[in-house]
């Protein structure tokens, strides 16, 4: 199918982009990599009246590295992260995740901000950034605000982003030197959407351990009991902790098959940490 009629504008600054979006009467849609949006338009599942192209805005494609955290512009591509062209606060986790995402041609254009803004339940970045305790800076007509990634995604394709806001950057605290991480993406065909996704991070020194599941029929699911278990250095009863966490998530309506996948993904991600 061909995309429906649409208008297009390429603002020269983020402020201009925000202004265009605010004045678009709900018809405006931000275009970054386009790997999801154009596909949806080609399938006639989305028909915005105006595309506001932010992909090449310098404010959105830079990265900064301070003592505690790395800030990545929203329009940094998955490929740039994969290739290590960006400072990496995650001790290798983020490049590993980026490399597992779709296909190289998609990664060359798709952006971390775009992934967050869409929050496809099978997407990688929302779960990973939740596990990394990252924050997302968004800019709207009333200025900038900062939101925690954990909680930024509120449901399937739903976020805390207001209609007139644009994601500006993601700030990721640097993992400590003793940090260990595990990442498991289960899928049958390379590059397809995950069937199950688990990220485990253990920074015992800081007492910060988190196990997060993607593909969770909604927002990323933090496995609290499992996180607590590895925080305490435990590895016995790992399976029952995972199962208990999944049982508690009854509102997600996982069937037995999904539970098996989530359990396997979570256990394997944690095992990578515990090795």
């Amino acid at each position: 199918m061909k995309a429906p009629t649409v208008d297009y504008v390429r603002p020269r600054s983020l402020a201009e982009a925000v202004d265009l979006l605010a004045r678009s009467g709900g018809e405006g849609r931000v275009l970054a990599g386009g790997q999801s949006l154009i596909a949806m338009m080609n399938l006639r599942l989305a028909s915005p009246g105006l595309l506001i192209d932010i992909a090449r805005l310098p404010e959105l494609t830079g990265a900064s590295d301070d003592a505690d955290a790395v800030t990545l512009g929203a329009c940094i591509t998955h490929a740039a992260i994969e290739d290590g062209r960006m400072p990496d606060p995650s001790r290798g986790l983020m490049p590993r995740v980026a490399a597992s995402l779709a296909y190289r041609a998609i990664r060359n254009r798709g952006t971390i901000g775009g992934s967050l803004a869409l929050s496809d339940p099978a997407a990688e970045w929302p779960a990973v950034l939740t596990a990394l305790d990252a924050e997302v800076a968004v800019r709207g007509p009333n200025g900038q605000r900062s939101l925690k990634c954990a909680g930024f995604t509120t449901g399937i394709f739903e976020t805390q982003l207001a209609p007139e806001e644009i994601i500006e950057s993601v700030r990721i605290p640097k993992l400590s030197v003793d940090a260990r991480w595990g990442y498991v993406k289960l899928c049958r065909k390379a590059g397809e959407f995950a069937n199950a996704l688990a990220v485990a991070i253990a920074e015992r020194g800081r007492g910060h351990c988190r196990v997060v599941l993607g593909v969770a029929n909604g927002a990323p699911l933090v496995l609290d009991q499992t996180s607590q278990l590895i925080s305490n250095g435990g590895r016995d009863d790992l399976r029952s902790a995972v199962v208990a966490d999944l049982d508690r998530a009854s509102d997600r309506h996982f069937d037995e098959f999904q539970c098996n996948l989530h359990t396997a993904a979570a256990m394997r991600a944690v095992q990578q940490v515990l090795q």
């Binding site: 061909k2 429906p4 009629t5 065909k189 397809e192 199950a196 037995e256 098959f257 098996n260 996948l261």
Partner: protein, 779 residues
Amino acid sequence: MPDDIRGVGASLLRKEDDRHLHGRGEFVADVKLPGTVEVAFLRSPHAHARIKSISVPPEARGRVFTAADLPRVKPVRVVSHSTGAKSPPWPPLATDKVRYVGDAIAACIAPSRGEAEDLANAVAVDFEILDAVIDAPRDMRGSRHPVHEQWGDNLYIEHTLEGGDIEAAARAADVTLTREFRMQRQSGAPLECRGVLAYRDHRLDEVVLYASTQTPHTVRVALAEILDIEERRIRVVAPDVGGGFGPKARLYPEEIVLAALALQLDHPVRWIEDRSEHLLTAAHTRDHHYKVTAYADRQGRILGVDAEIVVDAGAYGLWPQGPYHEASMVARALPGPYTIPNYRSRHYTVATNKTPLGPYRGVGRPGACFVIERLVDEIARAVGREPNEVRTLNLVRPEQMPFATIGGLSLDNGDYPASVELCAELLDLPAVRARQQHREPDGRKIGVGFATFAEQTAHGAAEFASRGAAIIPGFESCTARVLTDGSVVLMVGIQSHGQGLETVLSQVAAEELGIDPGSISVRHGDTESTAFGFGTFASRSMVMSGGAVARASRMLRDKLCRIGAHLLQCDVAAVRCTDGVVAGPQGSVTIAEIAKVAHLRMDGLPPGVDPLLDATATYEPAISTGVFSYATHGAVVAVDPETCFIELLDYAVAEDCGTMVNPLLVEGQIRGGVVQGIGTALFEEIPYDEAGQPLAGTLADYLMPGAAEMPAIKIGHLHTPTPHTEYGMKGMGEGGAVAPPAAIANAVRDALSSIGAEVNETPITPRRVLAAIQKAHKL
């Protein structure tokens, strides 16, 4: 055979490659004509409904064409001579009813495809929704709203095939096994979707169709009849075609509508199908239900098989063959390459409110192979023997051939047990068995499975007549022409869409004429320039078209020798064609020189010899019941018991297709077929919901095998030439796709043998593996 390294038997590199490597291929969407207008179809969103009204916005009048706006278009009607066959008329644009999601209602035209789609969305259709028939086994005898009201039931055809005495087999059996099997509906999914460009050529007074089709000549036959135009005023061209595999070997409503539009309007019209449209409306394939009982003795010798086969054939029959062959092909192939003495098959072809079913690589054979090969493995387990022992016990042996199977196929020659051995060798079966003795470090379960089959190829009149076909693709044709400079053109009725026929057919002519294949052009796919032929499908082209090329080339060779002998002033028995010349005892004359005489200096011709070097021949093999290539496939899998994911660790094919004209291309066909078979086995399906909505609309849902999931495929060859064809070659294009579902299902069964889980449904998805494990735990 002459010691020519560029004729039959040479792994010649392909002539087709150059244009594709540089992006200079010419697929239908690449053909540009000024003034072309794009077509988008308005299609039914409902599986079954009456059309109460169609409202075209006033500004769109003249740009939206419904059935009423194209009165010259008659419904398509498949003719079948099989007893009891019912054939529904299929109006290319729906008239009173729509019968599947995607059924075309109107053609909308605009300067661009996007605008044509906008137009389609602006047309309002009022429907009265009816119950959808979606469960073929349940609804075949009738439903509240039958698919075709005048029928009284939902059966295109039913038939029983019997041989021997199945009741006696049942009584004598030590082992009785009953299983249900299912092959889910899928798409042939060539990478290039369909497309048609149609225009009026006023100079030649023709309507011309460029179409992505495997069968241009028969498309012309159909269009002439449906549009009531003489064939001499229709030209169909299949340019480069980006894969066909069967779904493009049928006539489609879009081809008819585009031709009608071209005739009615004064400018070229174009419809280029997109992937979602293809997944929705191009022929669907497979979609079989089976319930089968096998009877065996305690050695594992199969005494009889009793099968019920239901084919879910969708809402209409695709011309020319309709859906009638699928079930009967399964029925005839189900006894496999085995000496089974007693058999009964009751088979049913059911109309449902789904996309019409068409042929796809292997057609009925993958399903037949799936059933019988799974049963062989289960019988082996029941009698406590290795599956390959039971397989070999039941296989037809070389000394028994030709062998008439209880299904009615005449197996010509070959060493089936040797293929089993060779395949096991290629996989190093002892090493796999040894590996299975130890726990895998990652906890996965290793399994190995095999499947053997014989593939009927290049079958002709007898076979198609027995299927009740009204059109019998029983021969192929070739016009071979030497031009005045000695270069050669072969004009053939097949249509090469990846098989490399431009190369292999020139190898055949080179073999006969003693010239280099590089001096030979092959023209195919154009009704204008080729004698009538049926196209490429059913693993027929190498044998049929190759045979026609051989015959026509020999006719040319004989004439070249006559003229050459005359020019050399010697006896015609003393000359031969070799290395681009006609050579005699005292000298030679080049083919170019002879060609000049035959065209430009006919005063040099011997008496009684006419000018020109032009020969047309047809060919059919000496037997029309088909020549059978065969193979054993083997798969090694690792099954993750936690996630139920399956990884293919190894795959091997031990095959025999007689003489290989170009071994490089034969192996390409095998590998391509195997990966398609793996797609059927593990990934591809189009499920339908209760309302008749198909649920795989994009390639994100419809998973196709990619390089990362495929193993390197090992191939071993046996060589049993057939006496019934030129050079002893057999067809083999489809075989690769026949056995993978069976081999992989057997491997999964082997991997999970300690649990006793069986998956008897394709695709074998992790969910189905889990269900099988759960079922086994309950027993």
